[in-house]
């Protein structure tokens, strides 16, 4: 657990920023070059794709301190441990960043008109805040409390202290003003799980870490000839949407990927 100790979140963030800096020229060139068949940028992108190199990730909406909080928090919710990498390594903070910046973060497909009385638990979410606004307001609140209580930011606390704070938020002992603390905890946990298991197209589940953990093959193959093989584990190299779109995966006549099967692991 030592690698998850003090300051790890901040260091990871700085590392991410420098990675973005290094990748900048290629990204800028790609943006400037409208013709995908010409120009240096397109060639670089093409080369990266052929080599299967991941695109560099960056934060578009979260501020550095917000990103540091989320990286640290998701690393506690789904930690890296003896079973393998966790939510932070899977890029869940980038997933949350992208979700907050888009339709989900602004409740584009949700009913947003008032009035907004709190209602009963059975009536569901009733705040006027969008997820974007919830994260911004709550992370600031948690930051202020951590500053006065620990004289440190959340991401600078030890893993043990971070767990303690998260548990207090979960149980409501850590009171929030902007929304109920249990609401925020459930939102953060739900978004973390989404980012850990969603298709990598959304910025999380990097290297299909989540799918590999549970034994989920991602984009499905045709399973008709396997489904009646009872108690025989079907262990496949997971396939993502990008793998199919970019012709990394071979397809059958209906467009389903032909999974590469690994030997039984059970």
């Amino acid at each position: 657990m030592s690698k998850l100790g003090k300051n790890s979140g901040r260091r990871w963030f700085l590392k991410s920023v420098s990675a973005i800096g290094a990748a900048m020229p290629a990204a800028a060139a790609l943006g400037a070059d409208a013709d995908p068949h010409h120009g240096h940028g397109a060639q670089l992108a093409q080369a990266a794709r052929v080599k299967g190199q991941p695109q560099p990730q960056a934060y578009g909406w979260l501020t550095p301190s917000e990103a540091a909080f989320i990286e640290a928090a998701v690393a506690r919710l789904i930690p890296a441990d003896e079973l393998g990498p966790g939510a932070k390594e899977a890029g869940v903070s980038f997933f949350i960043d992208q979700q907050l910046a888009g339709a989900y973060g602004t409740m584009a497909r949700n009913y947003r008109q008032g009035p907004w009385p709190e209602g009963t638990p059975q009536q569901g979410y009733q705040s006027r805040l969008t997820p974007q606004e919830v994260y911004r307001a709550v992370i600031a609140e948690i930051g202020a409390v951590c500053a006065s209580r620990f004289k440190q930011s959340f991401d600078e606390l030890t893993a043990l202290q971070q767990d303690e704070v998260l548990k207090e938020i979960e149980t409501g002992k850590f009171e929030l003003q902007s929304v109920s603390s249990s609401f925020f905890f459930n939102l953060l946990l739900a978004n973390t799980i989404e980012g850990f298991f969603a298709d990598p197209i959304y910025g999380g589940n990097r290297d299909k870490i989540g799918w590999k953990l549970v034994g989920f093959p991602g984009v499905a193959a045709a399973y008709g000839e396997y489904i009646e093989r009872h108690n025989v584990p079907y262990v496949a190299v997971p396939v993502s949407i990008a793998d199919v779109q970019q012709h990394v995966a071979e397809l059958d006549e209906h467009g389903h990927p032909k999974h590469i099967l690994l030997s039984s692991k059970d």
Partner: protein
């Protein structure tokens, strides 16, 4: 000012499961039919494409195929002394939007309600006496019997390519089928789907307890199938992306895979999408519908006159349009008078999760309703004397295909996060499955639909308000049948088991089922039904209201097959009786 359009024979509001069937049949009989749909056109080969159809976040979590609540939602409260508040996120149920409606993303279980379900009140009184029903229970007979609907069930099952095994063929009990089902005139159009490991274990366990397991009937073809309309569906490949998703294989019974290819070629039919009907206009005597008013995507209002108006939306919009248009008397739960909005009901689902340390299920493989079921504890298939409730539900093994954002079972007591959670999630993802129970739900005086006094939709019109809670009958029933499922589960030899009967107040937050029913219920008495037994408005006879809105209470099954049967039943009445002699169909 609305632009008045040329009159047509039939205008229908909503182009989903019920609307497409009615449109196809009526257009074919020579009538000019206009179908008005608030959403967009969607089709298999243009929209339901690999690999993006297999995107759990987009479809299951962000509800891409479902109702856009920013324009319209409902408000909800448990009791009438509470203030109803808007449903801001989809949760408990997931209505569709766009051509095909929820018929695009449904899970395909295709059950016939029991003969008992259609005569709930009279058969309960006859067998148990008045004491068996709660005083405020308003469950009633449907005005139509199972035997009357039987040919129409068969038609719908042959249309939607249902795979299954008959248990009662013309009165003869057939081994391997459901011995409790009503008499069937024909075998299912397709043999059952394949048997998963979970299905096989379930069947063995059920038989060891003396139950009669059978394959869960589902509108997913086990082989290539051409329906009576000449539309061909593909055989299912068990990819496991069904409920909540559209099918890339055209292997799910839906308007797109069964009716639309024929309907869209018929020159008598015109589809208008992105058009939101806000009102049915009545004549001055309020006895006849003259037109519907809709708003297009540019905000223009149109008035479409028609001889016959069919409300073929989801339950909520059928009822809301009646209330907004003054079709029928709104229900008053205090005086217990009026009919529109009366007998809103739902479902009482529960589950038992079984964990096996020594077995592997490849849980990600599957199909919508795939599994085996037992029906010993449904309807009045067992003696309810002394139990203090009526109704029940079937128990099925679930091999729907697990996707890990939504389905990652862990034993009760597992922490919600951290390494222990991670370990249990990784261990059990492919080593667990659910037994699911589709519990029935009776109707009560307090549970109803009306118009909200505060909240409005994007057109400035009142939202529909739902007042609903489950009652003692439902809680007792859920506990009883879930305990039966737990006994069955135990016989399968799991290492751990979670038992989750439905308890507490109804909440709109977690998903339960898109099986909302009632509000425009059918019957033989205009004092207790909004539509007659042919789904025709008692008050405005050139309006038919088709869908689960007609269910006087909900049975212990998924509703779609019964909705399909009612559609053909209403169609028969429209074609062979109403059109020959327009007016209220009597007897």
């Amino acid at each position: 000012m609305a632009t008045k359009l040329k009159s047509v024979d039939v205008v229908m509001v909503g182009v989903g499961v019920t609307g497409t069937i009615l449109a196809k049949e009526l257009a074919e009989s020579g009538l000019k039919v206009v179908g008005i749909e608030r959403g967009q056109m969607r089709d298999t080969h243009s929209d339901f494409l690999m690999p993006n159809v297999h995107d759990e976040l987009k479809y299951q979590r962000r509800h891409d195929l479902m109702q856009d609540l920013s324009r319209e939602t409902i408000t909800f409260r448990n009791q009438k002394d509470e203030t109803a508040l808007p449903m801001r996120y989809l949760g408990s149920f997931k209505p569709g939007e766009g051509v095909g409606g929820a018929g695009v993303h449904w899970g395909t279980q295709t059950w016939r309600f029991l003969p008992w379900d259609f005569e709930t009140r009279s058969r309960t009184l006859a067998r148990y006496g008045k004491g068996q029903l709660a005083e405020d229970c308003t469950s009633q007979d449907w005005g139509v019997t199972y035997d009357e609907l039987e040919p129409h069930f068969t038609k719908f099952e042959y249309l939607y390519g249902v795979s299954g095994k008959a248990g009662n063929l013309n009165g003869k009990i057939i081994p391997g089928g459901n011995p409790f089902e009503g008499r069937r005139s024909r075998e299912y159009p397709l043999p059952p789907m394949k048997t998963t490991h979970a299905s096989a274990l379930f069947a063995k366990g059920a038989e060891s307890l003396g139950y009669k397991p059978f394959p869960t009937p589902m509108a997913t073809p086990s082989a290539v199938y051409t329906n009576p309309y000449g539309v061909t569906m593909n055989a299912c490949v068990y990819c496991g992306y069904c409920e909540g998703f559209a099918c890339e294989m055209a292997s799910k019974g839906s308007p797109q895979t069964t009716v639309l290819p024929v309907l869209m070629k018929n020159k008598n039919f015109e589809l208008r999408t992105l058009a939101n009907v806000i009102r049915v206009n009545l004549d001055s005597a309020k006895k006849r519908a003259v037109s519907v008013t809709y708003v297009d995507s540019r905000g223009r209002e149109f008035e479409q006159p028609a001889e016959l108006v069919l409300l073929t939306s989801y339950v909520f919009n059928n009822v809301r349009l009646m209330l907004q248009s003054g079709i029928g008397k709104p229900y008053d739960p205090i005086a217990n008078t009026g009919v529109v909005g009366r007998n809103y009901a739902y479902q009482t689902p529960s589950s038992v999760t079984l964990f096996f340390d020594d077995k592997h299920f490849n849980s990600f493989m599957g199909a919508g309703g795939l599994g085996n079921s037992v029906d010993e504890f449904n309807g009045d298939n067992f003696d309810h004397a002394g139990l203090g409730f009526i109704g029940g539900g079937f128990i099925r093994s679930v091999s729907s295909g697990s996707r890990p954002i939504e389905v990652r079972p862990v034993p009760a007591g597992t922490p919600r996060w951290g390494s222990a959670w991670k370990k249990a999630t990784a261990h059990y993802f492919n080593r667990a499955f659910n037994l699911a129970l589709q519990g029935a739900c009776q109707s009560y005086r307090g549970n109803h639909l009306d118009l909200d006094p505060t909240y409005r939709d994007a057109y400035g019109l009142p939202l529909l308000r739902m007042t609903f809670d489950r009652h003692e009958n439902e809680h007792k029933m859920s506990l009883f049948i879930t305990n039966k499922a737990a006994e069955l589960g135990k016989a399968l030899g799991p290492s751990k088991m979670n038992v989750n009967p439905r308890v507490g107040k109804y909440t709109i937050v977690p998903y339960q089922s898109t099986h909302n029913t009632g509000g425009a219920v059918m019957g033989n008495d205009p004092a207790t039904s909004a539509v007659n037994r042919y789904l025709q408005s008692w008050d405005v006879p050139n309006v038919f209201v088709v869908g689960a809105s007609a269910f006087p209470q909900n049975g212990g099954y998924n509703p779609t097959d019964t909705v399909g049967a009612l559609t053909y039943w209403a169609l028969d009445a429209i074609k062979n009786r109403y059109l020959k002699r327009p007016g209220l169909i009597t007897a």
